[in-house]
């Protein structure tokens, strides 16, 4: 099975993250840039399917030059190769235009299965799998906590508020996964060394037949007008339990009219 995993480089959600003051985009320059955590689960799932059914795993990333670090890191887990869509004109792209570029790149890859994380930790927008599926006219099985492959039939357990749904589709399809689906492997030393030699193909907008005006700020379908830091919370009263901590807690709740 020919599997493509979508990987996004994001600012580390464990550190301070900012938007740029000049153009309101994510400040990648000051951030520690890492693989979107949920994508590691997507990579793991792809590798497991390859190990069970054979095939090839390709990483697909759209992002600036520095996303190369994340691509190598992804490859060190075990995928075979990567495709990096990189073009200065992409800066400022919205979700709608990003999906256009990714769909165009997928058009060159002939994937049976596209796997991605259910959301990225930066935008948490959760729209990309369905946008891509809509553009490609293929099935989207999203929010999977379990994925079963039986020949060309895919079945997922989709986590919902009330429980889960069992959803099935034939390949080709886009599947998005939550972090409950597996436990991603750590790259081995051998994997890290091997990743340095794995092929990474770069594609420009020209290669994909997408005009610069269709993407970036010019092509964007939405705009950030302004942004500000939310004032940090400050801690309030803190008492040490001296046998009456529970009562004091409820007294506080009562002053706030919760009880």
């Amino acid at each position: 099975m020919n599997i493509v995993v979508l990987v996004k480089q994001v600012p580390d959600s464990g550190a301070d993250r900012n938007l740029r003051s000049d153009d309101n985009t994510v400040d990648r320059g000051s951030a520690n840039n890492v693989i979107n955590e949920m994508d590691e689960y997507a990579i793991e799932e792809a590798l497991k399917i390859k190990e069970a059914h054979g095939g090839e795993v390709t990483i697909l990333t759209m992002g600036p030059d520095r996303a190369t670090e994340s691509i190598r890191k992804a490859l060190s887990m075990g995928p075979d190769k990567a495709v990096h869509v990189v073009d200065d004109a992409l800066h400022g792209s919205c979700a709608v235009t990003t999906s256009k570029v990714l769909a165009a790149a997928l058009g060159t890859l002939d994937a049976d299965l596209v796997i991605c994380g259910a959301e990225s930790t930066d935008g948490r927008v959760q729209v990309m799998p369905h946008m891509i599926a809509e553009r490609l006219g293929v099935a989207a099985l999203t929010g999977a906590r379990k994925l079963t492959v039986d020949g060309g039939t895919l079945t997922i357990e989709r986590q919902t508020e009330e429980g889960y749904e069992v959803v099935t589709a034939a390949t080709p399809a886009v599947v998005s996964v939550w972090d409950t689906i597996n436990e991603p492997r750590y790259p081995s030393f051998k994997g890290i060394m091997a990743a340095k030699k794995k092929p990474v193909q770069t594609l420009s907008l020209g290669d994909l037949g997408v005009a610069p005006a269709e993407v970036g700020f010019e092509g964007a379908t939405s705009a950030v007008l302004e942004h500000s830091k939310r004032p940090p919370r400050s801690g309030g009263a803190k008492v040490t339990d001296e046998g009456d901590g529970g009562v004091k807690l409820v007294e506080f709740l009562a002053t706030e009219k919760f009880v």
């Binding site: 938007l19 009330e162 429980g163």
Partner: protein, 319 residues
């Protein structure tokens, strides 16, 4: 005034979800609210009284297996048809998994911008979003097409405004590409009668400090006494104490209740990301240095196995 389409979010168990009432309330500021019910046969009939109570002037319904038996694509197709026909001033959906997914497909079909996790929307289409785990406030706007917005639960105070809507059944014509992902089973997992996590006005969450799955009864007891939902930190979920759908945090649900009580949760950034926009935060932790206390409006440094039962007893006394 132009129509504003509100895509109804409801559950079989509880009917119309609170976020739908929030959207109807918001829609009244922007135009004339029309509710859109996309679901199984008879769905709109069951929901119409509640939708009318909160100001829906009209209800569009697309119902049946063709709509409900597949994953979101048919719903987006029906909705796109409706948008082309009525040319609404805005389209509002819930910022839930399904709401975002329908909106995603609608955006592509209409070549329209989309804004998710919106907490406020002005009449001129300017939306407010909270980004980066509640640390940044962003004002943004759709610049191509109409305002297509998903609203984060607990953003608007729902206010009733009686209307008596008629139900208009929409013709459903969905193509083969809408029927590629078939829902073969829906399985309800036991949750009891607690409110939905993202919509609850009170959330009581347990962390690693709760110790084991059995001890989560304490968390549940306090939640039930306060009429709240139960949440769990990632550490608690990863340790198997509580199911994943109740996880609050960067990888999990974002909640913004009136009251958030964190029990045995240290307050790692992973967790704070999902709850720090809560109105009032209370924490119980035995470690006085736990970062959760930096956020808490009221903190008790102590053993939760002593503090929580005592608090529960005190609430019972006051009832």
């Amino acid at each position: 005034m132009s129509e504003v389409l509100v895509v109804v979010e409801a559950t079989r168990e509880f009917g119309v979800k609170k976020v739908t009432l929030e959207m109807l309330t918001l829609a009244r500021e922007l135009g004339t609210p029309s509710a859109v019910v996309l679901g199984g046969t008879g769905a709109a009939e069951a929901l119409s009284a509640k939708l009318g109570e909160y100001g829906a002037e009209k209800i569009y319904a697309a119902e049946g297996e063709e709509v409900d038996g597949y994953l979101v694509a048919p719903k987006a197709t029906v909705l796109a048809e409706l948008v082309r026909r009525v040319e609404p001033a805005a389209v509002l959906l819930a910022s839930s998994q399904e709401g975002k997914e329908i909106a995603a497909r609608l955006a592509i079909k209409l070549d329209n911008g989309i804004l998710t996790d919106v907490v406020a929307l002005d009449a001129d289409g300017t939306a407010t979003q909270v980004a980066f785990a509640g640390s940044a406030i962003v004002k943004s706007k759709v610049t191509r097409g109409l305002p297509l917005v998903t609203l984060r639960p607990n953003s608007v105070n729902p206010v009733p405004a009686a209307a008596s809507p008629a139900v208009e059944q929409l013709a459903v014509s969905v193509g083969d590409t809408d029927k590629l992902a078939k829902v073969v089973n829906r399985v309800a997992e036991q949750k009891g009668s607690r409110p939905e996590l993202t919509e609850a006005s009170v959330v009581v969450s347990g962390g690693r400090g709760v110790g084991n799955a059995d001890n989560f009864k304490l968390v549940e007891e306090l939640a039930d006494l306060l009429g709240g939902a139960v949440g769990a930190s990632r550490a608690a979920v990863d340790s198997g104490f509580y199911p994943h759908q109740f996880q609050v945090g960067q990888t999990g649900k974002t909640v913004s209740p009136q009251l958030y009580i964190a029990l045995g949760i240290s307050g790692a950034i992973q967790h704070r990301a999902g709850m720090q926009t809560s109105k009032t935060i209370v924490a119980v932790n035995k470690d006085a240095e736990a970062p959760i206390f930096e956020l808490a409006d009221f903190g008790v440094v102590g053993d939760l196995f002593k503090v929580v039962p005592q608090a529960a007893e005190e609430i019972r006394k006051r009832k």
